[in-house]
């Protein structure tokens, strides 16, 4: 059954705050083989003008995961997770995610389309500090493969 286009424009409640830690950033940097001192050494990050170590550009996917799951498992949306493929992804960093940040994510459904038996859904997640400073905008386009696709 195709996804319901009336979900376009729907927003979900803010997530619980995510505490960004130096250790999680280091773990993520290790997992992607990234060697930049700005991910590991607070002094090196400060020398570049950052408050503390910063996160790699795709780390926001970890921060927004819980929120995106709320969308994917929304019982009203009836999205078959077993048929989901990640279509595209983008991040706009208003500033780098930094150790010590407490971040809240809010997901919005920007688009629902159908093409050749597949459904496409675009989820925009706005990631802000608990004080309301916008940090990162993440956009994910998910493809739900049709039964015959």
């Amino acid at each position: 059954m195709p996804l319901d286009p009336s979900f376009i424009g729907r927003s979900y409640p803010p997530s619980q705050p995510y505490d960004v830690s130096r250790e999680k950033i280091r773990e993520f940097a290790d997992a992607i083989g990234a060697t930049s001192p700005a991910y590991r050494d607070a002094e090196a990050a400060k020398a570049l003008g950052h408050r503390d170590v910063i996160a790699p550009p795709t780390f926001a996917i970890v921060v927004s995961m819980k929120t995106n799951e709320t969308v994917m498992f929304d019982p009203e949306l009836k999205l078959d997770y077993s048929r989901v493929v990640h279509g595209d992804q983008s991040f706009t960093h208003h500033r780098p995610i930094t150790a010590g940040d407490q971040l809240v994510s809010v997901a919005h459904i920007d688009a629902v389309t159908s093409r050749m038996g597949n459904d496409m859904i675009t989820v925009r997640t706005e990631i802000s500090t608990v004080d309301g400073e916008l940090v990162t905008t993440a956009k994910s386009m998910l493809v739900v493969r049709g039964e015959d696709a």
Binding site: K24, E27, F28, D30, A31, I32, G33, A34, T35, S36, A38, Y39, L48, G49, H50, I54, P56, P57, T58, I61, V62, M65, S82, V85, H86, G87, D88, Q89, S90, F91, T92, H93, R95, P96, K139, M141
Partner: protein
């Protein structure tokens, strides 16, 4: 720093093996079994276990971070996931080769860098780009 359109970034090659996929699963909390369980991958029609698209995307970002020095200068980064990176259970794994080139000066202190990540001779990320602050 002054950056001219047409500048090619120093390329990087990254070998992804099964243990890299498990490590990324743990770090990213993406435990989808198609990234570590051969049976599940084959059951859904894949040739073998595949790398997380987000891992390939993250690995490709390194070419820009290593070139610019301050990864905080990457203000935008996006791509489409064109093809999977298939990772066999052996010592070779999958070799991802990343190249990139400055393609546009936005004239606001940022430039556009187009990124290509190839596996098995074919591009795996489509339209991958970063907008990078250089001034």
């Amino acid at each position: 720093m002054t950056v001219e359109v047409g500048t090619e970034l120093p390329g990087i090659s990254v070998r992804l093996k099964r243990d890299d996929l498990v490590r990324y699963a743990g770090a990213s909390l993406d435990f989808n079994p198609i990234h570590w369980n051969e049976k599940t991958a084959k059951d859904v029609g894949l040739p073998d276990v595949i790398a997380h698209g987000m891992l390939t995307m993250a690995v490709a970002s390194r070419i820009v971070a290593e070139w610019i020095g301050d990864p905080g200068a990457i203000v935008e980064y996006g791509c489409r996931f064109g093809r999977p990176v298939v990772v066999p259970n052996d010592d070779e794994g999958a070799l991802v080769e990343v190249t990139a080139k400055v393609t546009k000066d936005f004239e606001d202190g940022t430039v556009k860098v187009n990124i290509n990540a190839a596996f098995d001779g074919k591009s795996v990320l489509t339209g991958a780009f970063a907008r990078v602050r250089v001034g």
